[in-house]
Symmetry: C2
Subunit: 308 residues, 2 copies
């Protein structure tokens, strides 16, 4: 199975309003809820691709119960660890006039040292069956900032390939533990390296410890810098829609390609096709299958290897 870790899982709530007017009162006509947090989104896409997938991390309170009830409706196996605090909510307010989204993200519950220990035990046990693990997203209060370095080392000790998708200090610390693959986006690359030139920044990120770097570049697709070479994959055209979750779908594409032992260009093509198909779907963790099938063989992959 493939394991995904979401330390700050979320109950994702979406409100649609005809128009968002600051300092006014809005009657919401359409409310939807989904199990959320980056690793949970990755798990849902992996499961939809037919991979046996287990999601761990923390869940607690009434919002945690709601998250777990929604996760039970998917093909993802729930291995979330109970926590005393309440799982955070994220509220996305979609403006029906402009199509833009205003996002309000709660911080998440504080994790106690005992809860953290319980999680580590669960994580190590799950690694015994995992063919790959994705470590995804921001950290809840109370979790040590070097957590992804620790989780990466535990996975490498167990011989399980690690994909790291986070930002800021947790990314910087996690890279030092030498994950197999890091997936920053362009903003995260720039924040980490100070360079806004993606190829230069991805190479720099690789020197900081990741064995490979696959950087998502929004509508421009994805750039990979690996021991085997460098490639850029781009969709054949631009897709209008909601980009939320596109990066999580790219992670699912990369991770499924890794366990299926696809060559790098095919992994990137899958990741980019899934990203674009997610932009065409209403919500993170979901993708438009027709778009995915259409694009899988139409993504253009360019070799950027120094020898190419």
């Amino acid at each position: 199975m493939i394991l995904t870790v979401t330390l700050n899982a979320a109950l994702d709530i979406t409100y649609r309003v005809p128009r968002l007017r600051p300092h006014r009162t809005h009657r919401i006509t359409e409310v939807s809820e989904r199990p959320g947090g980056k690793g949970v989104n990755v798990a849902r896409v992996l499961a939809a691709l037919g991979h046996r997938t287990v999601a761990t991390g923390f869940a607690g309170g009434g919002t945690g119960d709601a998250l777990r009830a929604l996760l039970a409706e998917t093909a993802v196996t729930d291995a979330l660890v109970p926590v005393g605090g309440a799982t955070r909510r994220t509220v996305a307010v979609v403006d029906g006039t402009t199509g833009d989204t205003t996002q309000l993200n709660e911080p998440g519950p504080t994790v106690s040292p005992a809860e953290w220990d319980t999680f580590l035990g669960t994580y190590r046990e799950l690694l015994g069956e995992a063919r790959a693990v994705a470590l995804c997203g921001s950290l809840p209060p109370g979790v040590p900032v070097d957590v992804y370095a620790r989780l990466t080392r535990a996975a490498r000790t167990a011989g399980v390939p690690v994909l790291l998708d986070t930002s800021g200090e947790p990314l910087r610390r996690g890279l030092a533990a030498r994950p197999d693959l890091a997936k920053p986006n362009a903003d995260e690359l720039a924040a980490l390296t100070g360079s806004t030139e993606p190829l230069r920044a991805a190479r720099d990120t690789r020197r900081r410890g990741a064995h490979a770097v696959a950087a998502s570049l929004g509508p421009d697709g994805m750039l990979a810098v690996t021991a085997d070479g460098s490639w850029q994959a781009a969709p054949p055209r631009r897709f209008a829609g909601n980009p939320t979750g596109a990066g999580d779908s790219a992670v699912a594409g990369l991770l499924s390609g890794l366990v299926e032992d696809l060559p790098w260009p095919a992994r990137l093509a899958r990741a980019v096709a899934l990203s674009a198909a997610t932009v065409r779907a209403p919500a993170a963790g979901e993708f438009d299958r027709a778009t995915y099938e259409e694009l899988r063989e139409r993504v253009v992959v360019t070799d950027h290897s120094p020898a190419a």
Copy 2:
């Protein structure tokens, strides 16, 4: 005891953000939750004034559980009727720069005919012990639009005085059943009668069926048109703060004055003092006791009776 009815009770969530920027992502640093809906707010203020208070209406789902857990921390007796759907959330986003609030209100669960019947049974039973009842707020989907007329007739049959605080068609229909007191605000008065002149509009509203009308006029206080005369009560000065819940506190003031058989000018003075004290408190259903005590005897009541 005093009974309050909240057919569309809510879990009130407040987010504080440094500044609300549409179409951006906000990390919320401060989250608070309260039991909400107008009748629940009224009940909390009545209980804080020392009145034995029972809150009924509907509650369901994880959000209903959260609402009931928060209500259990107050002195209000919970007589909410279970419903299959989930209690609505309201999200108030407070902009730390301007102090203004952007409000997002979910519609609430659809109430089935069987749930509605169960509620009516509970309501009739509670009326047997009630000294007064407040019917408050908007209607959830599935509840007949003439509901407040039915609930008013049942209370009058049981000899229990009724205060009606709602708007639009439910107000229009409810007035025809001759409640003892209606408490519209200036906007609701204007929408009902077409007149923006409060005294004229309140008199018109009384002709539509209410035995008395007490109209809340925001910072200008409150205007009452009754069989015994007409009065306007105004706070001695303007109060800066959050007006959310000020109208609910006014209802609690009027209702407690009714069961204590206070003369009308004293009821209005109490309602206006409580309103102003709520503006000075952080949340609906709460009031600043020092402001209340200071203002009780400083509210200026003017006689507007035709004979005066």
